[in-house]
């Protein structure tokens, strides 16, 4: 649609200069754009090939080791993407995950609850923490770093209390099908993660709700003046994020047949690393689910490959740490490129 001014004497338009170069430049730009969006995938493939070549294991084992891994990282990464996307900052997610996992196992094993009821209770508990975060950050306006640091510690404490400071095990092993039943050779956990990422990826990129989330994260005052219910969007992000942590705890506990609350902290760094690494992929410069998903498997591949080469323990921490810093640096660089 072309609307031209109906006042000829204000024909204040300079001839469209460089018109010829833009179309020619656009094709080169499209290739560059594609390269920019998917350079992380390329990097991942290169790393996987190198590790595979060095590791001397059958390909199917190598792939199983990466994709069949029982990890809550995609769930937790998604929880972090959501809070970051609306401009919040959450340090409590691994603790809420741990509280949920510890609660469901303890309620069933130590207190004899039925699994469905215990699962509901665990998720409700997680939501309670989400609501508390939201109340203190959104309503009371307290710094989210402080709030989530404090409430995270409270969640860890509660998790220790309900599990009586032990690693609870002994859930009915048939429950592990919830997490580990195989479809197309890969466990349900992988498919849950994929479905989650695709659904949230769609919501964030292609629905009115996604646009509202985008503007709340970009500039709250601009969002408010465009009629967006900013507080509701923020509260929604906190609650959904907590819900994901709660569900992740239940699924993990079912898959493992129990839960060790103290193990949850190990997901803290890789979750942040995947979320930031994810901002250099697919939708560069923005927190996005699909980028995060790719980044999770990038990290898993790295850690697994290093394990195959005989590096364990401390190497994992070092690897996550380096990737987190590199990811944040790369994402800052992408941000600068996007802004010009």
């Amino acid at each position: 649609m072309t609307t031209t001014t109906d006042a000829p004497d204000v024909a204040d338009r300079e001839p469209a200069s460089r018109a010829g170069t833009t179309t020619a430049g656009r094709r080169g730009g499209a290739v560059r754009d594609l390269a920019r969006r998917y350079s992380l995938v390329l990097l991942w493939l290169v790393m996987a090939l190198v590790l595979f070549a060095l590791a001397d294991v059958p390909l199917s084992n190598f792939l199983q080791g990466i994709f069949a891994r029982q990890t809550p990282l995609v769930f937790l990464g998604m929880a972090v993407v959501l809070t970051m996307a609306v401009g919040e900052f959450d340090l409590s997610f691994p603790s809420v995950y741990a509280l949920s996992g510890a609660s469901v196992s303890s309620l069933v094993v130590l207190h004899g609850w039925s699994f469905p009821l215990a699962a509901l209770a665990a998720v409700a508990l997680a939501l309670l923490f989400g609501a508390a975060n939201a109340l203190l950050v959104v309503r009371a306006g307290i710094n989210p770093v402080i709030v989530t640091l404090g409430l995270g510690s409270l969640a860890v404490g509660l998790g220790g209390w309900v599990s009586q400071e032990t690693s609870v095990s002994g859930l009915d092993f048939t429950l592990s099908n919830i997490a580990l039943a195989r479809v197309l050779g890969l466990p349900m956990v992988f498919w849950y993660g994929l479905a989650l990422v695709l659904v949230f990826g769609y919501v964030m990129s292609s629905t009115p709700l996604g646009r509202r989330i985008l503007f709340v994260g970009a500039n709250r005052e601009v969002a408010r003046l465009a009629g967006i219910p900013v507080a509701r969007v923020r509260v929604g992000a906190w609650l959904t994020s907590a819900l994901l942590c709660g569900v992740a705890g239940v699924v993990s506990a079912a898959g493992l047949g129990g839960f060790n609350a103290t193990s949850a902290r190990e997901f803290f760094l890789p979750a942040f690393a995947s979320v930031f690494l994810g901002t250099v992929a697919v939708v560069p410069g923005r927190f996005n689910p699909v980028g995060m998903f790719i980044a999770v498997y990038f990290l898993v591949t790295g850690v697994f490959g290093l394990q195959l080469l005989g590096y364990q323990g401390w190497v994992t921490d070092a690897f996550y740490g380096v990737v987190l810093v590199a990811a944040v640096a790369a994402s800052a660089w992408v941000q600068r490129r996007v802004r010009g």
């Binding site: 204000v10 469209a16 009115p208 500039n219 005052e221 003046l225 465009a226 941000q335």
Partner: protein
């Protein structure tokens, strides 16, 4: 070192310096950002004691040139920057510029309000004890005192910057730029500095600039305000589309029209906008009843649809607060009545106001107007996402159509839906902001200083858009202190004093008439 011939204009004020080496000389500077040349072979020469204006539209390459000279960006290979004949760069080392005789006073002045004048002036140059490395406050205070004495402004070095008047703050920024400099040496660049200064303080600022030049310092004065350039500068260099189109033209021979042509490459006069877009008579009205909040105590009036109603007054009259009240941006009471629907400002929020098509285009483009990290398309369509899109799908067609319409109608550059707003010039950002709110046929449109910080080309486009949206049926409230703009677009003028409407005048207006209306003695009642 050779001097260029442009450095010796015929009417040059500092005749005895005319043959001297230029204080600042720029030769053949270019800058390319990812394949796009934004500045091409720029040259510039400032004689000692000269006030040299740099003019150009937003996006003309003006700010790029300043950023190359100040070392923010690195120039493409090939050019040269000289200060007093000495090679400075590129590359320019921003950390050493002050010692090399080049100082900058930026738009926002770069002062920390909570710190003292002394701390602000001396930052980076503190006098310190030899062994202890402790800041020697007494020495700093003395140095600041000397600089203010030279500038002839009595400011207490221990006062906090927050407690100063705007013109005193400018003096502090200038003092920082000039300290420890031999009087009359070097170059000082004022990068749109006058925008930080309220009207009444401008004469003192101009005196300061003239004083500096009189001492022999060369002044590079970057400004959008052509009247200011005409009254202050000796010579002017104009940029257009990344090229210097005129270098060092004596201002004495130019009028405002000639200078505008220099900037635009064509006549930029807005002409008779009211005549060209006359009021189309309508019967419907938008009423404001007892609107109050902030400094506004009571605004009650009937706005006719199809008319542009100007609202003006002095800075402390309440005009600064009124737009936010009507747009739901700050707490207000009173009622807006549109089509028989009463909007109680104490109860309704932004969504209800938007639903009744009462729209605010805020002055604070970055804080309130646009999400600058997002694209043109995202910014233009966000107000309509709720009404145009389906719940679970944004849809593409309508977004592309609306964005293209905004780009076409307001001639937004670059002509790209997915351009990130932050990468665009101020004037183009303002066009995007207009497009965002004007495409939806508002009933009550409140414009808050819509032409601030845009160039003459964008100004003409925005004023024209204002008339057109009124013709389309909006009751437009044009809140501004710019007398020229008010005279150009308004059918009617309301003057606020002390939070209440005191005058209600019918157009057409001349700028002088608008000014007279603001400063006329109070009539003592609401019309």
């Amino acid at each position: 070192m050779s001097t260029t011939d442009v450095a010796t204009g015929p009417d040059h004020p500092a005749g005895d310096h005319a043959t001297a080496t230029p204080r600042l000389e720029v030769r053949g500077l270019s800058k390319t950002f990812s394949g796009v040349t934004v500045l091409d072979d720029a040259h510039l020469a400032l004689a000692p004691g000269e006030i040299h204006a740099l003019v150009g539209q937003n996006g003309s390459g003006k700010s790029t040139l300043i950023k190359l000279v100040s070392g923010v960006h690195r120039a493409d290979p090939g050019g040269e920057i000289l200060v007093d004949g000495v090679h400075l760069g590129p590359p320019v080392d921003a950390g050493r510029l002050h010692r090399q005789g080049l100082a900058f006073v930026h738009q926002d002045l770069g002062l920390v309000p909570d710190l003292s004048v002394r701390e602000n002036v001396r930052v980076g140059l503190n006098a310190v004890g030899h062994l202890s490395r402790r800041v020697d406050r007494a020495a700093d205070r003395a140095a600041v005192h000397r600089t203010f004495e030279f500038l002839g402004v009595p400011i207490d070095p221990e006062a906090t910057v927050a407690s100063l008047t705007p013109s005193e703050r400018v003096a502090v920024a200038v003092a920082r730029a000039l300290q420890e400099r031999e009087p009359g040496s070097g170059v000082i660049v004022f990068d749109e500095s006058s925008r930080a200064i309220p009207h009444e303080a401008l004469p003192a600022f101009y005196d300061l600039v003239r004083f500096l030049a009189g001492q022999g310092t060369a002044v590079l004065f970057v400004s959008h305000d052509l009247k200011e350039v005409l009254s202050l500068a000796h010579r002017v260099t104009a940029l257009r589309n990344g090229r210097v189109v005129e270098a060092g033209v004596p201002v004495a021979g130019l009028g405002e029209a000639a200078l505008t042509r220099l900037v635009l490459g064509r006549d930029g006069a807005v002409g008779d906008l009211v005549g060209r877009y006359p009021v189309r008579p309508r019967t419907d009205v938008v009423e404001l009843v007892g609107v109050r909040g902030g400094r506004v105590r009571d605004v009650t009036t009937r706005l006719r649809s199809g008319e542009v109603t100007g609202v003006t007054g002095t800075v402390d009259s309440g005009i600064l607060d009124l737009p936010s009240l009507l747009g739901g941006a700050s707490a207000a009471s009173g009622t807006i009545r549109i089509d028989g629907r009463d909007l109680d400002l104490e109860r309704v929020g932004v969504p209800e106001l938007l639903d009744a098509k009462a729209v605010l285009v805020p002055q604070d483009r970055h804080g309130r107007g646009l999400a600058t990290d997002l694209t043109v398309e995202e910014n233009v369509t966000i107000p309509h996402v709720g009404s145009r899109a389906r719940r679970w799908s944004l849809g593409t067609g309508w977004r592309h159509r609306e964005t293209d319409a905004v780009i076409d109608r307001y001639d937004v550059r670059p002509r790209a839906r997915d351009a990130v707003v932050a990468t665009m010039s101020g004037g183009n950002q303002q066009k995007v902001l207009f497009g965002k709110w004007l495409m939806d046929r508002p009933r009550l449109l409140t414009l808050e200083e819509p032409t601030q910080a845009v160039d003459v080309g964008a100004r003409a486009a925005l004023l024209e858009a204002t008339r057109r949206v009124a013709q389309d049926g909006a009751a437009v409230l044009y809140v501004s202190a710019e007398v020229d703009d008010l005279a150009a677009v308004c059918d009617r003028l309301l003057v606020i004093e002390d939070g209440v409407l005191v005058r209600d005048l019918a157009g057409p207006f001349t700028p002088e008439a608008v000014l007279a209306a603001v400063f006329a003695s109070p009539t003592g009642g609401t019309p």
